[in-house]
């Protein structure tokens, strides 16, 4: 199991579009993925779960990844937060 603390950097928060990108990315990996925020824990592969976090800009959360491809998954997910959920340049 790997964990990492991240901060939502994009100004409008983790709204519908970034949430969708996050879930899509997470779903490509075999590992389980959870997000912990202010005592809540949601399945990071669940779009409705992630949306209900309604995380705003500056929100801090812990990403928890557990499974065979956890290293790669965590790296990709952290990158998404760092790039403010913009698609990676080709």
């Amino acid at each position: 199991m790997k964990t990492k603390k991240v901060t939502v950097l994009n100004e409008s928060g983790l709204h519908a579009r970034p949430a969708s990108v996050l879930v899509k990315t997470a779903s490509r990996f075999k590992s389980e993925f959870y997000i912990k925020m202010y005592g809540y824990k949601v399945n990071g592969k669940s779009i409705l779960g992630v949306m209900t976090l309604a995380a705003e800009a500056g929100a801090e959360m812990e990403l928890i990844v557990d499974g065979p491809d956890e290293d790669e998954a965590l790296e990709k997910l952290v990158k998404l937060f760092e790039n403010k959920f913009n698609p990676a340049p080709p």
Binding site: E11, G13, H15, V23, K45, L48, G49, T52, A54
Partner: protein, 572 residues
Amino acid sequence: MKEQQPKILSGKPAAPGIGVGNAFILRDDNKPVHPEKISDQEIEENIRKFENACEFLVQEYEKIKTIPDDYDVVEIIDAQIQALNDPEVMSTIKRKIKEENFSADYAIFSTFNDYIQLLESAGAQWAKDRTIDVVSIRDELIQATKEKKKEFDVKKGEIVFAEDIPPTVMVKLSRIKISGIVMERGGLTSHAVILSQSLGIPCVINAHWDRFQLQDGNDVIIDGSTGQVILRPSWKQKQEYLKRREEQFSRFQKALEWARKPNKTSCGSEFTLRANVEFLEELPRLKTHGARGVGLLRTETILFESNEFDVWDQVEFYSNMVEAVEGHTVTIRLFDAGGDKLLENSETEANPFLGWRGVRMLLDKKEFLKKQLEAIYRVSGKFTGKVRILIPMVSSMEEIHEVKRHCIDVCNSLSRQHVPVDSETPIGIMVEVPSIALMAEHVAKHVDFFSLGTNDLTQYTLAVDRGNEKISHLFDSYHPSIWKLIKMSKDAADKEGIPVAICGEMASKPEAAACLLGLGINDLSMNTGSIPVVKSVLCSNTLDEMKKLADRVLHADELEHIHELLEEWRPA
């Protein structure tokens, strides 16, 4: 039986265009879902029903995804599919069926409701906005478990009346090529509205009718540009609207081809066309229609919707706007409530249009003004030179000085907190009250630009309430006095070297736009849909011809004569 008279419903314009057809009332016959327990033997059947419903709905969404060639629509549908594939939701529903012996429809209903509640209570507005979509997935899933699909017998060309329309129904309706949609509910940002805009179906929302006024099959006219819906129109009304629809359609087809061409008259003189905008959702169209930035950003809605004047909500909204217009400017009109746009809880006034609105209200409610200015200046620091401030409903010099004082205060206070601001952010005024147009010469010395609001300028100059149907024939922006006031404002601005733009409906009329260009006003802002047609006319004539037109219009002393002059410029 008594013959029913024509009846006009006034709603909110949501998607432009004219539709003429028969009414089809889409009745919502979903029964309420009750917590129903099932026996152990029925579990398997209920699981199967639920899985089939999911599969069916995903397929439906995939199918409709291929129809509109529009990124927004695809994104909306993708989001719905993603929710239908949500592992957490799916397993919760199955668990409720298997372990708690709930029927499939109640398991779906209660599971989604938990999320809906959380989203509704979320602090962020976007999360609240999403609840409509989640509700529609919930209801469509429940509908699909009933295994008898709701078939519409909506026919081509009909105008659909409904309380609200979920996205899947919406796309099915568009396949039938309906002529219009009238909804009781629905926000301008709801999927049904975004879809109808991108699918080109005229749409009016927030229209209310009682059950006795309207029957299936009634003749109906819908004007999605004005928000008017005419039930049982007279023959004459119908002919008039049919003609207008024809004109609009052929004009628009031709005009879209112009959108990509450079903004130059046929003799090479440049002009700028911008969009009047209220919602982020309108922005994708700016590019396809050839708009260069936002000439008028209305801010009332965001402020009405959020109930409170949150600085950060505004910062986000304005930033998104500036980012979306890709290097062009956004002119933000300060909160212009009052008149026909009332704040909740405000007292009704005898003459609201002559009352407490625009800058008058802002200077009374300084906390509104200060928060809005703070938001704008914060954005200005991030996008230097890209935002402009527009003060509405100014009628005296004192008001200008006072707002400017607040601008300086806000700027200074932000600078003290080391927040970057663009203290050179242009501050302009709406010229929409005759008093200001008459003293434009003085005013021009103290502001950075003029933006002419021709609708209000017309109603105030002509003493015609534009909402009053009895005298609506008197409301005419082509009145000689209006041209004179425009010319005065332009001359005054030229003297001080400040720019003038038009953001009233006038700019969206090609013949008036040509005349305005002839007057030397080459910055026109209008609803996005009008840009191509206006552009086609401006591009295919010379500035000289337009100057001649303007000259003749300025010398005309009768309204009818002006109409004759302009008529020749109206595109066929």
